[in-house]
Subunit: 439 residues, 3 copies
C-alpha cells in the first residue's frame, strides 16, 4: 500500500478545498462535497429542510456569503473576506452600515493571547453579524467612522449529509464520521474528510468484501450528526458494532484515542489493541462530551460504540479554531501515517472474529496434519507454534480474536493467519456469534 | 460558617465534661448527657434495664464511684481517685482491705513503656477491683502494709442511650454515632461527642431541611451500640444509607477514613470523594474489626454501611487509653477542622442525588436557553461549560452525582450547582431512585 | 518434618531410575513404575491397548530398545546407546544399514548452539529412526561409509498409567500429576515423580485423614494425560477442586507458578497465597498451552483447575531436553525445599474451609469464654486478638479461609488455629459448602 502517495494526494485535495467558504449549509458546502466525490466516487445525499425539527434542534437555513468587508475612516479596506474566510462570523446576516470604532468594537472578535491569529466564530442559531481579525490588526484601528458591508443570504434550503455505503458480507455496521462545515481550517476539518475519502477507496477495492457494512459520513458538525441520528439512529442502535469520528488527524503529533462513552466497546478494544501493538507513542483518554460528533453518537439515549482516533486533539494544539490551523500544520506524511493507522484499525475490526476449537477434549494431534514437526521435543517454545497452540486452547467460542491477542500480548495481525490455517485444517470453526459486544 | 468559634466552644464543653467519672452507666454518664443537652437541645433517652439480654450480651448494672484511694505503710495517700479518674479500674466493686505490697501488686496496672502515663482499665463483665497508676510511681512503692478503699455501688439500673433525630424530607437515614463512657480522656472520647453535638446544631438549622433523616447517637461504647441494634437494627437495615462512628477526631493529626465492611457503600464513596477533593493529607484504610462501634454496626448479620472518619486512629497515637490523652492533645483548631470535614461529608451525601437528562437523543440546544454563548466556537473547553456538558451526557438515571464526579475527578460541590441550574431549565430531572446502594 | 533427609532419599532414587531407557510405553517404563512403588507403596495401573482411540489420539505401540550404535569407516564405534539413552531417537524403528556420511547426516540431530549437549528427540507417531549426538562430535565425523544398527521392537501392547488414591473425608478431589517417560533427564522428569512419591508418603501418614481425596498420577506425558481424561475426565470435571502438574521442580532456581487456564481457581488462589507468604522469591505466570500435561487438563472442553508449581520452567533453563539436564542440576536441597513448598500448598488447600459466625448480630462477648482478658481496654490491637476478631466478623459463610487471609494479608496457617479455637467455643461453625469454586 503506497500510503506516502496517498498522503500527497490528500494534501493536494485539501489545498483545493481550502478556499471555499463552507458553513453548515449552502453552496460552498455542496461544492466541497462534489469535489470529494471526484476522488472517491458517488456520495449519496440525505436532505433535511430548513425548519425541520430534529430532536431538540431546528434545521437552520442555508448561508450564502458573497462579500464582506470593513472600510476605515479614510476609506481604506481594513478587513476583507477575500483575505480569509474566517474574517466574517459564520452565518452573519447581511448588513450595510456606518458606525464609530467604539460601536464597531462590539462586533469584532480577536485573541489577545494569540495576536497574529484570526479566530473562528459562528452565529448559527441567533441572527447576528460580526467580524474576526487578528488582535494585532485590531489594536491598530484608529478612532473614526467605519463602513461595514456583508453581502450574504440566509434563506430556506436544506442541510445535506453525504454518505458512502460499502456493503459487507453482514449487515452489522461500522461508522466513520467526519465533518465538512469549517472554512479554511486544515487539521480541525480537512484532515478528516481526506482520510475518510481514502478509506472509502481502500474499502471499495478490498478483496474479499469486508465483513461489516461501512457507513462513511461527511456532514456539517453537530446538526449533521443529529439529523443522521434522527433518521437512522434506530438502525445504528441495532447494528452498529464500532464507529469513529475522524478529525484532527493531519498534524504530526502523537496519536490520541478518545474512548467511546461505554469505554470498552469493540471500537475501544480495537483502537487500544492497534495502538498498543503499532509501536508508536500514543495516549488513550476517557470519553468527555466536548469535542466533535461523538457527543451526539454517545448521547445517553443512543450511547453508541463510537470513539475518535486523532493526533493532536482540539484542546491540545493552539492553532485550533484560528487561521493558524492551516495547510502547513497538516503534512502529507502525517496524513499518510494516519491513513495507515485507520487502515490497521479497520483490518483489526475485520479480523476480530470468534472461533471455537473442534477438538475440545485434550489437544488435537498435530503432526499427521503437517502442523507440527514429526520429530518431537525440539523447540516447543518457538513463537509460531506457541501462537497456534494458544489458539487451539483459548478459542472456545466465548471471546473474539482481539481478546485472544490481549490475553497474551500478541497483535491480531499475527494471530489471524494462524486461525485461518487452523480453520483450513478443520481444527477451528468460525462461531456465527452475536453482534460484537463490549469486552 | 464560623468553624473556629465552634472549635473553641467544643473545647470549652470538653473541659467541663472532663472531671466527671463516666462509665457505661450511672450518674456521671447521665450528668454528661445532660450537659451536652444544654448545648444541642433535647436528647431522647432509650433505656435498657440491668440484666436484659441483648444479643450475646447482658445489660450491666450501674456503677457509682464516690471515693477510691490507697494508703501506704506510713498512712500517706499513695493513689487517690480525686487526682485522676483513671486511678480506679472502671466498674471496680467496693473494697476495704489491708494487704502487703506483694499482694497489692496483683491489683495494680501500669505501663513500663510509658512510665509517666496512668493506663485506663475496665472490668465491666467480671466482678473485680484494681487501681491504675504510673509505672514511675509504682516503682517507688516501698514494701509494707497498704490500705485500699473503694467506695462504689454496682446496682441494678439501666443503660441509657441518647439520640437526637433530625427529620429529613425522606425516611432514608444517616447515622452519626459516638460514645460517652470514658472518663477523662480527650481524643478517644470527648472529641466525638463534641463534633456530633455541633453537627446536631448545624443540621437543625439547615435550610432546606436535609434530604435524609439524621440519627445522632451518644452511647456507652460497645454495649450501647449493641442495645441500639437490638431495638432498632431492623429499621437501620432497611433505611440506613450511610453512617459514621465519630471518635479520635480532636487531635491535629491527618485525617484517616476507615472503610465500612462493605468497602463501597455510600458512606465510603462520599468519604473517599470528600477527602480526595478537600486537599488535605489523609489515608484510607480497610475495615478491620478492632476499633469502636463500627464493630457492632458492621457485624455480619447487620453489615451496615458504617465507616469512621477519624484523625489519629486509636492504634496510632501513643496517648490512647492513658492519662496522656488529655485536653492538650485535642485543640480547638483541630476540632474546628474536623467539624468542617464532617460538615462537607454530610453535604456531599445530601448532594449525591441521581439525575436523568430530559433530552437523551443528541445534545440539547443550549444557546437559546442562555446556557451557552450565542456566538459559537469560542473556548468550548472552559471548565464550567465542560461540567455542564458532562452532566448532560453522563446523567442517565443510573448513577448518582458522586459517581459522576468520580468519573471526571471533579468535586460534587462544584457539580451540584450545575445540576440544579439544568433542573431549572428542565434539562435534568431528579430520579426518585431506589435507596443509595453500593457504588 | 525432616525434609532434608527426604531430599537425599529423592536424589538417591532418581539416581537409580536414571539409566533406564524409558519411553511412552514398554519394559523400561514398567520397571521404573515398579521401582517407585518400592518407596511409596502400591500403585494402581490403568491400561490402554495399542490402537485404542482416545479423543483425537491413538494409543501407540510399546517400544523396547535393546541396542543402538553407529560404526565409522574404520569400524570404530562412534555412537552407542550404552553411553547415553538420548543417543537414539525415542521410538526409532529397527534398522541395520550401511550408508555414506552424507546420507547419515539426515538421520542425525545435534545442537549447534550447545555443542556439548546431546539433544532429546522423539518420533512417537511417525515410523522413523535417528540418532542424537553432540554437535562437537558430529563435526568430527569423517566422510566415508557408516554402519547403523538399532535393535528395537515396536509391538502392540499397552500404555500404562500409575495412580495412587488416598481417600479423604469427602469425595472432592485434588490431583497431583507427573510424568515418567523421559530417559535420563533429571529436572524435566525425575524431579516430578520424586516429589509426588514423597507426597504420597506424607498424605498416607496424615492424621487426621485429609479432607480431599488425592489422586497421584505417574503417566507418560501427553498420551497418558489424554488417556486418563478419556476414562476419568467426567469424574474430574465433577469433583476436582484443585490440581497441579509436578515437573521441573528439582533445580535450585526460584519457584514459578503457572496459573490454570481459569486463572483464579482454588489451585491458583492457594498457590498465590502460599508463595506470597512463604517469603521466598518467586514469580507467577499466566497460563499458556506450551509445557506439560496442564495442556490436556486445561483443554477447553475440560478446563480443569490445574496449574503447575515449578522452579526453573522448561523454557528458562538451557539444559532442558538435553543430556545436560542431569543429576548435578538437581540437588537434594532443592528437592527438599520443593517438597516443603508442595506440602504447604496441600495443607493450605486442606485448611481453606468456609466458616460462618454463630453470633452474627453484634460481637459475641468473649471474656466469659476465656477468649479475651477479663480486664478490658489493654492492647486491643495485639495480632492474635485481631486475627480472632477478624474471623468473627469476616466469616459469614460466603468465602473460604484463603479469601479471609488474602483480605488482611495474613497466612492461612496462622488463621486456621484461631478458626479451630472459635469452632471449639461454638462461635464459628463449618459451612458444608458447595465445591470450592473460583475466587
Amino acid at each position: 500500500m503506497d500510503y506516502a502517495a496517498r498522503g500527497r494526494d490528500m494534501h493536494a485535495l485539501a489545498t483545493r478545498l481550502w478556499p471555499l467558504p463552507r458553513s453548515l449549509a449552502g453552496p460552498a458546502y455542496r461544492e466541497s462535497l462534489a469535489m470529494i466525490e471526484e476522488v472517491c466516487g458517488p456520495i449519496e445525499r440525505h436532505h433535511f429542510d430548513t425548519g425541520e425539527q430534529v430532536f431538540d434542534w431546528t434545521v437552520p437555513p442555508e448561508w450564502d456569503i458573497r462579500e464582506a468587508w470593513i472600510r476605515g475612516p479614510d476609506g481604506e479596506t481594513v478587513v476583507d473576506l477575500r483575505d480569509s474566510n474566517l474574517h466574517v462570523v459564520s452565518y452573519s446576516e447581511p448588513v450595510d452600515a456606518e458606525l464609530d470604532l467604539e460601536d464597531l468594537q462590539e462586533r469584532l472578535h480577536s485573541l489577545p493571547d494569540q495576536p497574529d491569529a484570526i479566530p473562528y466564530r459562528t452565529t448559527y442559531y441567533t441572527r447576528s453579524w460580526g467580524f474576526c481579525l487578528s488582535d494585532r490588526q485590531r489594536s491598530e484601528l484608529r478612532p473614526g467612522r467605519y463602513t461595514v458591508h456583508i453581502d450574504a443570504d440566509l434563506r430556506p434550503g436544506r442541510v445535506e449529509l453525504g454518505e458512502i455505503t460499502i456493503p459487507g458480507r453482514t449487515d452489522e455496521e461500522v461508522l466513520l464520521s467526519t465533518y465538512l462545515c469549517h472554512p479554511s481550517m486544515a487539521n480541525n476539518e480537512l484532515s478528516g474528510p481526506m482520510i475518510v475519502s481514502q478509506l472509502a477507496d481502500l474499502l471499495k477495492a478490498r478483496e474479499p468484501a469486508p465483513r461489516y457494512t461501512y457507513r462513511l459520513l461527511f456532514v456539517p458538525e453537530t446538526i449533521g450528526a443529529i439529523c443522521y441520528l434522527a433518521r437512522f439512529g434506530d438502525r445504528l442502535r441495532e447494528r452498529l458494532a464500532a464507529g469513529y469520528v475522524v478529525t484532527c488527524i493531519g498534524d504530526p503529533g502523537d496519536f490520541t484515542y478518545k474512548l467511546s462513552r461505554r469505554g470498552n466497546s469493540l471500537a475501544d478494544r480495537a483502537a487500544r489493541h492497534v495502538l498498543t501493538h503499532a509501536g508508536e507513542p500514543h495516549r488513550i483518554v476517557d470519553y468527555y462530551p466536548a469535542g466533535s460528533d461523538e457527543r451526539q453518537y454517545c448521547s445517553p439515549g443512543f450511547n453508541l460504540p463510537v470513539g475518535s482516533l486523532m493526533r493532536s486533539t482540539y484542546d491540545r494544539f493552539t492553532e485550533y479554531h484560528t487561521s493558524l490551523d492551516d495547510l502547513t500544520l497538516v503534512t502529507p506524511d502525517a496524513l499518510a501515517g494516519s491513513l495507515r493507522m485507520y487502515h490497521r484499525l479497520i483490518e483489526a475490526i475485520e479480523a476480530a472474529e470468534t472461533f471455537e476449537v473442534t477438538v475440545p477434549y485434550g489437544e488435537p494431534l498435530l503432526s499427521p496434519r503437517g502442523l507440527y514437526p514429526t520429530t518431537g521435543a525440539a523447540d516447543p517454545f518457538e513463537r509460531g507454534k506457541q501462537d497456534m497452540m494458544f489458539l487451539l486452547n483459548y478459542c472456545d467460542g466465548s471471546a473474539d480474536l482481539l481478546a485472544a491477542g490481549d490475553r497474551i500480548g500478541r497483535p491480531i495481525w499475527d494471530l489471524r493467519p494462524h486461525a485461518d490455517r487452523l480453520v483450513q485444517h478443520d481444527l477451528l470453526r468460525l462461531v456465527d456469534g452475536p453482534r460484537p459486544a463490549d469486552g
